[in-house]
Symmetry: C2
Subunit: 119 residues, 2 copies
Amino acid sequence: MASATQHPNHQLISSEDVEGTEVYDMAGKNIGEVDHLMIDKMSGRVAYGVISFGGFMGLGHSHYPVPWGALKYDTSLGGFRTNITEQQLKDAPEFSDDTWGDRDWETRTHKHYAAPSYW
Amino acid sequence: MASATQHPNHQLISSEDVEGTEVYDMAGKNIGEVDHLMIDKMSGRVAYGVISFGGFMGLGHSHYPVPWGALKYDTSLGGFRTNITEQQLKDAPEFSDDTWGDRDWETRTHKHYAAPSYW
Protein backbone atom coordinates (compact mmCIF):
# COMPACT_ATOMS: atom_id res chain seq x y z
CA MET A 1 0.00 0.00 0.00
CA ALA A 2 1.29 3.45 -0.91
CA SER A 3 2.39 5.51 2.05
CA ALA A 4 3.51 9.03 2.82
CA THR A 5 6.56 7.54 4.47
CA GLN A 6 8.08 6.76 1.07
CA HIS A 7 9.48 10.31 0.97
CA PRO A 8 9.74 11.21 4.67
CA ASN A 9 11.68 14.43 4.04
CA HIS A 10 9.28 15.76 1.46
CA GLN A 11 6.66 18.31 2.36
CA LEU A 12 4.76 17.39 -0.80
CA ILE A 13 2.93 14.16 -1.46
CA SER A 14 1.40 12.88 -4.68
CA SER A 15 -2.37 12.51 -4.79
CA GLU A 16 -1.65 8.97 -5.93
CA ASP A 17 0.34 8.23 -2.76
CA VAL A 18 -1.93 9.86 -0.18
CA GLU A 19 -4.36 6.98 -0.46
CA GLY A 20 -3.23 4.47 2.11
CA THR A 21 -1.56 6.97 4.46
CA GLU A 22 -2.13 5.77 8.03
CA VAL A 23 -4.29 7.60 10.59
CA TYR A 24 -3.57 7.51 14.34
CA ASP A 25 -5.47 8.61 17.44
CA MET A 26 -3.95 10.92 20.05
CA ALA A 27 -2.50 7.92 21.92
CA GLY A 28 -0.67 6.83 18.76
CA LYS A 29 -2.95 3.87 18.04
CA ASN A 30 -3.51 3.10 14.36
CA ILE A 31 -7.23 3.60 13.79
CA GLY A 32 -7.43 3.63 10.01
CA GLU A 33 -6.07 4.96 6.75
CA VAL A 34 -6.86 7.59 4.13
CA ASP A 35 -9.05 6.17 1.37
CA HIS A 36 -9.08 9.38 -0.69
CA LEU A 37 -9.26 13.17 -0.35
CA MET A 38 -12.03 15.56 -1.36
CA ILE A 39 -10.50 18.67 -2.95
CA ASP A 40 -12.10 22.06 -3.60
CA LYS A 41 -11.58 22.52 -7.35
CA MET A 42 -11.66 26.30 -7.20
CA SER A 43 -9.37 27.06 -4.28
CA GLY A 44 -7.16 23.98 -4.44
CA ARG A 45 -7.68 23.29 -0.75
CA VAL A 46 -8.14 19.80 0.61
CA ALA A 47 -11.59 19.84 2.24
CA TYR A 48 -11.96 16.30 3.64
CA GLY A 49 -10.06 13.14 4.13
CA VAL A 50 -12.31 10.16 3.58
CA ILE A 51 -10.97 7.70 6.15
CA SER A 52 -11.39 3.96 6.41
CA PHE A 53 -11.60 3.39 10.18
CA GLY A 54 -10.60 -0.25 10.43
CA GLY A 55 -9.35 0.33 13.98
CA PHE A 56 -12.84 1.13 15.28
CA MET A 57 -14.80 -2.11 15.20
CA GLY A 58 -18.26 -0.86 16.26
CA LEU A 59 -18.93 1.51 13.36
CA GLY A 60 -21.88 1.16 10.98
CA HIS A 61 -19.99 2.46 7.95
CA SER A 62 -16.52 1.63 6.75
CA HIS A 63 -15.68 5.13 5.41
CA TYR A 64 -16.22 8.51 7.06
CA PRO A 65 -15.46 12.01 5.74
CA VAL A 66 -13.31 13.93 8.21
CA PRO A 67 -12.69 17.68 7.85
CA TRP A 68 -9.09 18.33 6.86
CA GLY A 69 -8.73 20.63 9.88
CA ALA A 70 -9.27 17.61 12.17
CA LEU A 71 -6.26 15.81 10.67
CA LYS A 72 -2.70 16.82 11.47
CA TYR A 73 0.23 15.36 9.57
CA ASP A 74 2.84 14.03 11.99
CA THR A 75 6.24 13.52 10.41
CA SER A 76 7.41 11.29 13.29
CA LEU A 77 4.51 8.91 12.65
CA GLY A 78 4.60 9.25 8.86
CA GLY A 79 0.85 9.65 8.94
CA PHE A 80 -2.06 11.74 10.15
CA ARG A 81 -3.08 12.16 13.76
CA THR A 82 -6.64 13.02 14.83
CA ASN A 83 -8.50 13.52 18.11
CA ILE A 84 -11.75 12.22 16.60
CA THR A 85 -13.37 9.44 18.65
CA GLU A 86 -15.46 6.44 17.68
CA GLN A 87 -18.48 8.02 19.41
CA GLN A 88 -18.08 11.23 17.38
CA LEU A 89 -18.13 9.20 14.17
CA LYS A 90 -21.30 7.41 15.28
CA ASP A 91 -22.98 10.74 16.10
CA ALA A 92 -21.82 12.57 12.95
CA PRO A 93 -24.31 14.12 10.49
CA GLU A 94 -25.56 11.54 7.97
CA PHE A 95 -23.73 11.68 4.65
CA SER A 96 -24.17 10.43 1.11
CA ASP A 97 -22.70 11.22 -2.30
CA ASP A 98 -25.08 14.20 -2.53
CA THR A 99 -23.87 15.84 0.66
CA TRP A 100 -20.61 17.01 -0.96
CA GLY A 101 -22.45 19.89 -2.59
CA ASP A 102 -24.49 20.73 0.52
CA ARG A 103 -23.01 23.63 2.48
CA ASP A 104 -25.53 23.08 5.31
CA TRP A 105 -24.25 19.53 5.80
CA GLU A 106 -20.68 20.81 5.58
CA THR A 107 -21.34 23.45 8.25
CA ARG A 108 -22.94 20.92 10.63
CA THR A 109 -20.13 18.44 10.04
CA HIS A 110 -17.36 20.95 10.74
CA LYS A 111 -19.20 22.11 13.88
CA HIS A 112 -19.64 18.49 15.03
CA TYR A 113 -15.90 17.87 14.82
CA ALA A 114 -15.02 21.39 16.05
CA ALA A 115 -12.91 21.82 12.90
CA PRO A 116 -12.18 25.14 11.17
CA SER A 117 -13.98 25.50 7.84
CA TYR A 118 -11.96 25.35 4.62
CA TRP A 119 -14.19 27.82 2.74
CA MET B 1 -10.89 7.93 -17.83
CA ALA B 2 -12.14 9.62 -14.67
CA SER B 3 -13.21 13.19 -15.17
CA ALA B 4 -14.30 16.16 -13.09
CA THR B 5 -17.39 16.38 -15.29
CA GLN B 6 -18.89 13.35 -13.55
CA HIS B 7 -20.24 15.69 -10.85
CA PRO B 8 -20.51 19.02 -12.70
CA ASN B 9 -22.44 20.73 -9.89
CA HIS B 10 -20.02 19.73 -7.18
CA GLN B 11 -17.38 22.10 -5.93
CA LEU B 12 -15.53 19.12 -4.48
CA ILE B 13 -13.72 16.44 -6.42
CA SER B 14 -12.22 13.18 -5.22
CA SER B 15 -8.45 12.83 -5.41
CA GLU B 16 -9.21 9.60 -7.27
CA ASP B 17 -11.20 11.46 -9.95
CA VAL B 18 -8.90 14.43 -10.49
CA GLU B 19 -6.49 12.27 -12.43
CA GLY B 20 -7.65 12.51 -16.02
CA THR B 21 -9.29 15.94 -15.75
CA GLU B 22 -8.71 17.76 -19.05
CA VAL B 23 -6.52 20.86 -19.42
CA TYR B 24 -7.21 23.58 -22.03
CA ASP B 25 -5.30 26.58 -23.31
CA MET B 26 -6.78 30.09 -23.37
CA ALA B 27 -8.27 29.46 -26.82
CA GLY B 28 -10.12 26.43 -25.48
CA LYS B 29 -7.86 23.87 -27.19
CA ASN B 30 -7.34 20.62 -25.27
CA ILE B 31 -3.60 20.50 -24.54
CA GLY B 32 -3.43 17.71 -21.97
CA GLU B 33 -4.77 16.22 -18.78
CA VAL B 34 -3.97 16.07 -15.08
CA ASP B 35 -1.81 13.06 -14.28
CA HIS B 36 -1.75 13.70 -10.52
CA LEU B 37 -1.53 16.49 -7.96
CA MET B 38 1.24 17.33 -5.51
CA ILE B 39 -0.26 18.27 -2.14
CA ASP B 40 1.35 20.08 0.80
CA LYS B 41 0.83 17.60 3.65
CA MET B 42 0.94 20.26 6.35
CA SER B 43 -1.34 22.94 4.96
CA GLY B 44 -3.57 20.77 2.80
CA ARG B 45 -3.03 23.03 -0.20
CA VAL B 46 -2.60 21.68 -3.70
CA ALA B 47 0.86 22.88 -4.77
CA TYR B 48 1.21 21.53 -8.33
CA GLY B 49 -0.73 19.78 -11.01
CA VAL B 50 1.51 17.34 -12.85
CA ILE B 51 0.16 17.60 -16.38
CA SER B 52 0.54 15.25 -19.32
CA PHE B 53 0.75 17.66 -22.28
CA GLY B 54 -0.27 15.41 -25.14
CA GLY B 55 -1.51 18.43 -27.09
CA PHE B 56 2.00 19.90 -27.40
CA MET B 57 3.94 17.62 -29.74
CA GLY B 58 7.39 19.23 -29.54
CA LEU B 59 8.09 18.68 -25.84
CA GLY B 60 11.02 16.67 -24.50
CA HIS B 61 9.14 15.31 -21.50
CA SER B 62 5.63 13.92 -21.29
CA HIS B 63 4.85 15.28 -17.80
CA TYR B 64 5.40 18.78 -16.40
CA PRO B 65 4.68 20.17 -12.94
CA VAL B 66 2.55 23.31 -13.18
CA PRO B 67 1.96 25.58 -10.16
CA TRP B 68 -1.64 25.31 -9.00
CA GLY B 69 -1.98 29.10 -9.34
CA ALA B 70 -1.44 28.75 -13.12
CA LEU B 71 -4.48 26.44 -13.42
CA LYS B 72 -8.03 27.77 -13.20
CA TYR B 73 -10.98 25.40 -12.98
CA ASP B 74 -13.60 26.31 -15.60
CA THR B 75 -17.02 24.83 -14.90
CA SER B 76 -18.19 25.46 -18.48
CA LEU B 77 -15.29 23.35 -19.81
CA GLY B 78 -15.41 20.81 -17.00
CA GLY B 79 -11.64 21.09 -16.80
CA PHE B 80 -8.71 23.36 -16.06
CA ARG B 81 -7.67 26.31 -18.18
CA THR B 82 -4.10 27.62 -18.29
CA ASN B 83 -2.21 30.36 -20.13
CA ILE B 84 1.01 28.35 -20.08
CA THR B 85 2.61 27.97 -23.52
CA GLU B 86 4.67 25.22 -25.09
CA GLN B 87 7.71 27.53 -25.11
CA GLN B 88 7.33 28.21 -21.38
CA LEU B 89 7.35 24.47 -20.70
CA LYS B 90 10.50 24.05 -22.79
CA ASP B 91 12.21 26.89 -20.89
CA ALA B 92 11.05 25.82 -17.41
CA PRO B 93 13.56 25.02 -14.61
CA GLU B 94 14.76 21.42 -14.81
CA PHE B 95 12.94 19.08 -12.47
CA SER B 96 13.38 15.61 -11.01
CA ASP B 97 11.89 13.64 -8.12
CA ASP B 98 14.29 15.45 -5.79
CA THR B 99 13.10 18.94 -6.71
CA TRP B 100 9.85 18.56 -4.75
CA GLY B 101 11.70 19.28 -1.53
CA ASP B 102 13.76 22.13 -3.00
CA ARG B 103 12.32 25.56 -2.17
CA ASP B 104 14.83 27.24 -4.50
CA TRP B 105 13.52 25.20 -7.45
CA GLU B 106 9.96 25.95 -6.36
CA THR B 107 10.65 29.68 -6.21
CA ARG B 108 12.25 29.73 -9.69
CA THR B 109 9.41 27.64 -11.13
CA HIS B 110 6.67 29.89 -9.73
CA LYS B 111 8.54 32.96 -11.00
CA HIS B 112 8.94 31.36 -14.44
CA TYR B 113 5.19 30.82 -14.75
CA ALA B 114 4.33 34.11 -12.97
CA ALA B 115 2.23 32.09 -10.52
CA PRO B 116 1.52 33.05 -6.88
CA SER B 117 3.33 30.83 -4.39
CA TYR B 118 1.28 28.37 -2.30
CA TRP B 119 3.54 28.60 0.76
